[in-house]
Symmetry: C3
């Protein structure tokens, strides 16, 4: 579907500079622009690309003043980046939605399925499960017994949801996500480990998105809880009885051990590990690969395998690099000092 610069400018209340009839049908980064693409310029660092881009239309901020002629049609708006994101969202929403229930989906008689759903080929929905309105479930996903999924959620292909777990509204689960596998609980005996039954569940609140192949284990008792608005990237481990506060985001490959409680609006970078039974406050930021062995108060920013607050960590790390020099200097000092003392006693 093609859109003209004129149509877009009207929609975003922008001002056209150039050919109002230029048309586009997709999006591109400014450095990868091709004819038929719309792109944007927000960061001045990328400004030099605008003079050569082959994109047909470029969204720019109203204060942008070109230094040379530009081939593309410009549309000036208040905030080029936000406008682009808005157009991308519209583009996504304009796609035809999959609807209907595939003939090969196996839906237990005691399961309930809402209105206007999409249920793809070979989906299995087990006894007592409830699926809300407008929810989409892609091929090969398994929805266990008595699972509840809310309205307008998207469950991609190959997701596995164990019995009794609850998924809210407007939730997105990507392929390979496993919700509600047994927590890792064993009691040692002289002959080996005995399994401690994991009879709790997982509760995922509204507006949560969970990335591909991420695992959220069921609670031993009670619930592992992912509060509303949380965004988890791919390949993350959330152990049993963990609670993740609202609007906390985690990058890929983070691991949260059992019964840890995270606050709201935390930002956890990739490959971070958090030990069990800790309390992490609200608005905590953890840098990449940080390993957390003790609880953290609200608002702290930590980084490193031995975490320190922001600046302190960078200073420490700089000094680790100087350690060989320090060590050499220290030995020299000791030697000179000993000579000084010897002179003195002579």
């Amino acid at each position: 579907m093609d859109f003209s610069a004129q149509q877009i400018a009207t929609f975003v209340q922008g001002e056209i500079v150039g050919d109002a009839n230029a048309t586009v049908n997709t999006f591109a980064k400014i450095e990868e622009g091709k004819p038929g693409c719309i792109t944007f310029l927000a960061n001045p660092k990328y400004a030099h690309y605008i003079y050569d881009t082959e994109a047909s239309i470029v969204l720019v901020n109203r204060d942008f003043v070109p230094e040379k002629p530009i081939k593309a049609t410009l549309i000036k708006v208040d905030n080029a980046y936000e406008t682009l994101a808005k157009l991308m969202m519209l583009y996504e929403q304009s796609k035809t939605q999959d609807k209907g229930i595939a003939s090969t989906a196996v839906i237990a008689e005691s399961a309930q399925v809402g209105k206007d759903v999409f249920i793809g080929a070979y989906v299995v929905i087990d006894e007592g499960a409830v699926i809300g309105d407008n929810t989409s479930i892609y091929p090969h996903t398994y929805v266990g017994k008595n699972v509840r999924i809310g309205d307008s959620s998207i469950i991609y292909s190959g997701v596995n949801i164990y019995h009794d777990c609850q998924i809210g509204n407007h939730v997105i689960l990507h392929s390979g996500v496993v919700i509600g596998a047994d927590g890792f609980g064993f009691a040692p005996t002289p002959e080996g480990y005995n399994k401690i039954p994991q009879i709790g569940n997982v509760i995922i609140e509204d507006n949560v998105e969970i990335g591909a192949n991420t695992c959220v284990d069921r609670a031993t008792m009670g619930s592992t809880i992912i509060h509303k608005g949380v965004k988890l990237d791919n390949l993350i481990q959330v152990a049993h009885n963990v609670v993740v506060g609202a609007n906390t985001v985690m990058a890929a490959q983070v691991g949260i051990a059992g019964s840890a409680k995270l606050g709201e609006w935390c930002v956890i970078a990739g490959q971070v590990g958090i030990s069990g039974h800790l309390n992490i406050g609200n608005h905590v930021t953890l840098g990449p690969k940080t390993g957390i062995l003790s609880s953290i108060q609200d608002g702290k920013t930590l980084i490193g395998s031995l975490p320190a607050e922001g600046k302190a960590w960078f200073r420490q790390q700089a000094l680790v690099k100087k350690l060989p020099d320090m060590y050499r200097e220290l030995n020299a000092l000791r030697k000179e000092l000993d000579e000084l003392k010897k002179d003195k006693t002579n």
Copy 2:
């Protein structure tokens, strides 16, 4: 299904304090207790919760003496925690087991399936595979050619088992587990890497449990072996030709590189990495995120990205924090010493 305090006390040989007719139908932590729940108090740290808990029954140790009146019915037993675990196991066992073979399961003619199995919707069992008695296989799992699975094992939904692998008795594989994918073996040439065929298999012995999305690669030649009683958490990587000794446990996101051999009864914390071709002894404990670059003798406890034995590591880490002070002090020393020497020579 409801149970009365009287029934439970009789079963666990406990002594009732309070209403013998109180009934429960599920379990809870003491701080989350609700009417109809049974809970337990073992750790004195949590004792203050018992006076306010809404749980109907609390298991306590025989020596527990309340300081205030308690609303809940108490059952005094020798070991409150162990008794609870026993009751949870009974509760799990009392659930109706899935049995039978779904009409949509595809079982090759040359495959053999034992008695009293459960094989769920859309399971695929390929040629020559053998499934033991009482084993359950949940929807969408793929069992490759000539795979052997023993008795009383549980394979959850969406598991993939490549050809020729062997799974023992009483094994549990959680959703998304991949057993027997090719080991990572390539021979460099000037034009690119040539694949080295991975013609071995994976052997998983009895009583092993493997967490969601964990991968155990097939051997180049011979077998990758997970010995009996091993417990692996989620998202773990076990590379080709690794051997994991009996009753070793690993927390989530651990990575074991090719041909490493781990002993028995090791405890490996989350996100640990072990390099290839190492020998890790028996009863070795590795702290979270530890990176292991050389072999380890029996009984050692190591932690850290540059691993050191327990106490030494904590001391080193404390000093890393003091490095900026050390560096400042060192420079001061040098300066004062130089002045001292100058004075002396004048």
Copy 3:
């Protein structure tokens, strides 16, 4: 299928020492050799195994001179290891290939499927997808709308490929791989994070192999690109808009953050993390668990959570172990110096 020493020696242009009629039907490591196995000796470290091995045939280099009698038949060749790899490849190729399309595969009418393919039970191929000649797709794999897969590729069971992604020729994707899930892009607002649509795709070029449960996210705009010959191990995260150069290899559990560009022929060890928007040159080697926070020039070798070049890192790490001694020495120095100064002023 059995082969005699005579047949193998003729094929590999080797020289037989011992029984030319010895037969083998599989491969083994020299220390695990059994009758009927062929094995090899390349590394002199393993030479002592050759005198006791039960293997029927051992490939050795032409210059190998035994110190004691050997029971096995030897075949002398120019390069024992390369010859074995060649034989293993032949062995793999001699296996019967699965062919045909399972009756339970769901292939959309608008999808195109090439010649001589294998499409297993319950595979779902969505609208507009194109599958090349000689490609194999194992059970439960989902191929999204408009996905293109080239010729002679192998997609194992339980793989999920999102819409519009492109897979080249001679590509291998192992079970649980997720290609084209949404990149992790959100815009913060006071009420929570808004999703930034991810409308790009993933392009995987020829001769790429991707390990079990690895995730490659689709680009926000444009493409996440895995260039030809790249080999990715299991449980790796490749974020949106990443570009991985030709013939780069990555061990398990590596994480590459968004928009990072990696060069050709890099070697990335296990559990490495690379931050977003960095440029990693060609022929870069990164040691296990290394965390990369800034761009790297061609040809560098780095290791450590605070990466340093090879030798420097090992020196630093050795000194971290000596930190307690340094600290004690430093305090002693200060004390002695202060006394010296006091003496002087008296």
